[in-house]
């Protein structure tokens, strides 16, 4: 081990992994909530649906599109004043969170919208015919009936977020990306870069496996 990876300090790797996992976990949870909300608004205000409203739909849709098109690395820089305002620093894992969430939530919102559109319109109609309130339709029909697609969507988004954390790492957020860049690339320690990459790969595979497993468990179709 020592010979194969002479420059790797395993404690640092472990610490960086923890940071990456922390950033990913917090941003995934926040992205799920924010993306679900935006996706629901996009779906419900679209044509022929419960809150059909062209004005709100086009506003939310444009905001989502704008944030989805900004390359993540630029988004981080654009968000510096905002991050400074709420986190008070640009260093460390927490400083990466605003950019991670704002970068990923619009992407997930589109996936949520697509998932909701897949729901059989007849089921929504049947629920309306039973005298259900809109909140009942959202929580007892829209979300449960699209859950497998919502979960596979958040799986894809989580994996994208792992990639984003590595990018955020380069600008000072810590984690495996930061390690690979500073210790690996800048100091020409290829073994560090290699170990960091493998660790990220393992995280991504684990997320994909877990996501597929839950999706299959949920799907009773």
């Amino acid at each position: 081990m020592e010979k194969l990876f002479p420059n790797v300090k395993w404690e640092t790797i472990f610490e960086a992994t923890q940071e990456t996992l922390y950033m990913t976990a917090v941003s995934v949870v926040a992205t799920f909530i924010l993306g679900l909300l935006l996706g629901l608004v996009l779906f419900l205000t679209s044509k022929g649906n419960l809150w059909e409203n062209k004005f709100i739909n086009s506003i939310v849709s444009s905001v989502v599109n704008i944030f989805r098109s900004i390359p993540f690395i630029i988004l981080i820089i654009l968000l510096i004043p905002f991050t400074m305002f709420i986190i008070k620093t640009m260093l460390g894992a927490n400083a990466a969170l605003p950019a991670l969430i704002i970068g990923a939530a619009p992407f997930y919102a589109r996936l949520v919208e697509i998932a909701l559109r897949e729901i059989d319109k007849g089921v929504i109609e049947a629920t309306r015919a039973m005298g259900a309130k809109t909140s009942t339709i959202i929580f007892k029909v829209l979300i449960p009936e699209s859950l497998p697609a919502l979960v596979s969507g958040i799986t894809v988004t989580s994996i994208a977020l792992v990639g984003y954390t590595a990018m955020a790492g380069v600008v000072g957020a810590g984690g495996l990306g930061n390690l690979a860049y500073l210790e690996g690339f800048q100091r020409s320690q290829n073994d560090v870069t290699f170990v960091a990459t493998i660790t990220i790969l393992i995280i991504v595979f684990a997320i994909q496996f877990l996501g597929d497993f839950i999706t299959n468990k949920l799907d009773k179709r």
Binding site: T127, M130, R221
Partner: protein
Amino acid sequence: MIKLSNVNKIYKVKNSKIHAVKDVNLNINEGEIFGIIGYSGAGKSSLIRMLNQLEKPTEGEITIGSKIISSIKGSELRKARQEIGMIFQHFNLLWSRTVKDNIAFPLEIAGVKKQEINRRVDELIKLVGLEGRENSYPSQLSGGQKQRVGIARALANNPRVLLCDEATSALDPETTDQILDLLVDINKKLNLTIALITHEMHVIEKICDRVAVMENGEIVELGSVLEVFKSPKAEITKKFVRQVMDPSENENVIAHLKENHPTGKLIKLKFLNEEVEKPLITTLIRKFNCEINILHGKISQTHIGSYGELFILLNGEENEMQNALNYINEYGAEAEVVIQNGKTIS
């Protein structure tokens, strides 16, 4: 029970208007099974959806019981909807819920207590004959079973009205009959008013008391099923009646009879209801000095009575035959001379 007055529905599509339902006036009585038949695009779907305001009428008033359905909204509308059951062509069950939970859904919406829900669900499962399938998911059920779940779900909140939107159109003939039997059964047991739409005359024939025929958004014919079957007036109604009476069969029969019976009058008799059971032929033979041959006959059983056709061959003196014909008409059956001495009359 259900009353529609001057109901209109107009859809606005880019720069044009579609008049889907035109000036419909309708009364559906309590406890009756009322059928609305029409081809797709006739407006029947819009019509039935206005009965629980899934679609709002553009004009006109709809009342169910004492509630003016067409003008209520918000919680009052939701409450009213809970008292109107509805079943659908594609069942519209939630795939994420088991049979039990699907049936429990409207009860949850109505805010019924958990214990009471369980009791009611068990009752409904028995009513529709789904014992043993409580914990299955819809994907594990056949079409007929899915519709049974749909029916149980629609009946959960003890509605007084059941709306059926092409409820059997996605089922095979045998399953269709089972579901129709179930509908008649609950109609009797619960004194439920049923309004259904369909494009199959078979459904009307089998379970409906009265029928309305829709074409281009208008009701073109309305009456008791037997009446409409016996003497359809509108062209479209005749088409629908032919669906079940199969005229091509009659044409074949007539052609065949024409060849084999060169003399005498071939008469087509139409019977309705109790006339079918009265001994017309016996009387004819006893009273008149004619030869009578029964050639071909068919009786259709509808929900409220039977309707039959009989082909007989009359041979004898012209006078005597005329008397016999007059007698038949007095008797209440409808007689039509189809062939006379080997020549087609009509």
